[in-house]
């Protein structure tokens, strides 16, 4: 009797999302007071499907970093790559990147549903190769169905017919998240999305975002000022230097998920490590005031 050998697949399952590679990136903005260096020699690899949190002093170029990945900005020198090969450079609006801004940025004269459907209305859905929709789905009705689904996912199903002015800051920001997710982008960028919200609302959101990411993993880059938020959310924390920004340290976070809001409190060593790294990148005159 022969036993069929069990075939072991050594290949890991395809990671969701796209990997990011920034190599020797310099960004210089022209300004009235002379050229302004935002980033200098930034090199960073972000694995596909990881949740990376970027933290650093004010004005260190965190938002610039996100705008590079979103294709809204080209590096003055160096390269930004989403994948290897052709089509590697990010291009704004090609559907590979979803962006959530610090402000909700909802169009005031459109309903929440229309706001969320907005990304699908600029080109036929079928032309966005990465959107998972039924074949031949290109009509405005389909866009609305997808928008309603996206609203359901972020718990805003009832707000579909409201206008942005009628939403609380937290609801508006969730609508912004739904809009970013509607194209099901392999890369999601969040630029201090919850910084304008009160502490409890923000913790609830972080939990929600973590759950969304665990349910459908993708490459996420989250910019924050909060050490606690960084520790709760991150696979890896990227600490940036003061302007011109570059990567000071990459601190891996290895804790089981889902992590509660108190995650940072139970990881005191890690928190000390992050705070110490932050203290080093802040200007000397601020250091005495930073808790390590």
């Amino acid at each position: 009797m022969t036993v069929e050998p069990t075939i072991q697949t050594s290949r890991a399952p395809m990671p969701a999302g796209l990997p990011l590679r920034l190599n020797g990136v310099n960004v210089v903005f022209p300004s009235a007071a002379g050229p302004l260096e935002a980033l200098r020699g930034l090199t960073l690899d972000i694995p596909a499907g990881s949740l990376t949190v970027v933290i650093g002093p004010n004005g260190c170029g965190k938002s610039t970093l996100l705008r590079l990945i979103a294709g809204l900005l080209r590096p003055t020198e160096g390269s930004v790559r989403l994948i290897e090969g052709v089509d590697a450079e990010p291009r704004a609006g090609d559907g590979r990147v979803g962006l959530v801004f610090q402000q909700p940025r909802l169009v005031p004269w459109l309903t929440i549903l229309d706001n969320v459907a907005l990304p699908l209305t600029f080109k036929p859905v079928s032309r966005l190769p990465l959107v998972r929709v039924r074949a031949g789905s290109t009509t405005a009705d389909d866009a609305k169905v997808l928008a309603q689904e996206a609203l359901d996912r972020v718990g805003l199903a009832d707000a579909a017919t409201s206008y942005p002015a009628h939403l609380s800051g937290g609801m508006a920001q969730r609508a912004g998240l739904a809009r970013a997710l509607i194209t099901d982008p392999p890369i999601l960028l969040l630029d201090e999305p919850f910084s304008a919200l009160d502490a409890l609302t923000r913790e609830a959101f972080d939990g929600e975002l973590q759950r969304l990411w665990m349910n459908s993993p993708r490459t996420v880059v989250l910019v924050t000022h909060s050490v606690g938020e960084a520790i709760r959310m991150a696979d890896r924390i990227v600490v940036m230097t003061a302007r011109p920004g570059s990567v000071a340290r990459v601190i891996p976070v290895d804790m089981p998920r889902p992590r509660p809001a108190t995650a940072a409190g139970s990881a005191t060593d890690l928190e000390a490590k992050v705070r110490s790294a932050l203290a080093e990148v802040h200007p000397p005159e601020l250091r005495p005031w930073i808790d390590r």
Partner: protein
């Protein structure tokens, strides 16, 4: 209901002051006719079909001039707002055309365009153009830069950005320009008629004033022009209310 009452009371007050002025000063009708004299003259002019004959001409000039002027102005205004180069090239000519008195320009346009309806519509359109074009330009530029960046990040083409973001953002300002434009259109039509026309309310004013010394008829024509202006202005305001979402 309350708004209507306010309007009626204000109108009655205006008529009473007018009437008192004629009685107290004893001004003869050929200088300042009393309101009831003007009303009587109006009824006769309506009855004979004289008023409608001239009003129809002027009204069509106004409506056509307004349409042509506003459509051109909004198109040019969007281009001016979106391109600094276009603004640099065009704006000296636009300002120059606006600075030359339309009264001086009208006879010239009348000669160039054959003295018919076309010439008068163009004169009307020209005077309407400036405030609407400038309002559109300013409005288009006032679009929220954060939303402009959002549209860019979502891959909107420049055309989609104009129709979906910049023009809707500009609507309140464009309507401000349109409100000025409709009243100027009435003036433009009369000026155009004075440059050479055989009918229209402007012509009727000339006939009543210089030919017949019929001052009440002149007042009838002036009142009709005022009513046209007020009605068109009201129409613009009501379209504005419908079009602009005030959540």
């Amino acid at each position: 209901m309350r708004r209507l009452a306010t309007t009626l009371i204000s109108l009655a007050g205006f008529l009473i002051v007018w009437k008192l002025l004629t009685v107290l000063t004893g001004t003869p009708d050929y200088i300042l006719p009393a309101p009831e004299v003007v009303a009587g003259r109006a009824l006769r002019a309506i009855g004979s079909g004289l008023l409608w004959e001239h009003t129809a001409v002027t009204l069509s000039e106004i409506l056509l001039g307004l349409t042509v002027g506003a459509a051109t102005a909004i198109t040019v205004g969007v281009a001016l707002g979106k391109s600094v180069v276009i603004e640099r090239v065009l704006s000296p000519y636009i300002v120059a055309a606006q600075s030359v008195p339309i009264l001086a320009l009208a006879p010239l346009l009348d000669i160039w365009f054959g003295g018919g309806l076309l010439a008068r519509v163009l004169i009307c359109a020209l005077i309407v153009f400036f405030p609407i074009a400038i309002a559109t330009m300013v409005g288009v530029r006032s679009a929220d830069p954060l939303l402009v960046e959002l549209f860019r990040s979502l891959g909107a083409t420049p055309g989609q950005r104009a129709t979906r973001l910049e023009i809707p953002s500009a609507l309140p300002v464009i309507f401000g320009g349109l409100r000025v434009g409709v009243t100027l259109a009435v003036i433009g039509a009369v000026v155009a008629e004075w440059a050479g026309a055989s009918s229209g309310l402007g012509v009727l004013i000339n006939i009543a004033n210089q030919g017949l010394f019929d001052t009440p008829l002149m007042f009838v024509a002036l009142t009709t022009l005022a009513v046209i202006g007020i009605s068109l202005h009201g129409l613009v305001v009501s379209i504005e209310r419908r079009l602009i979402v005030h959540p």
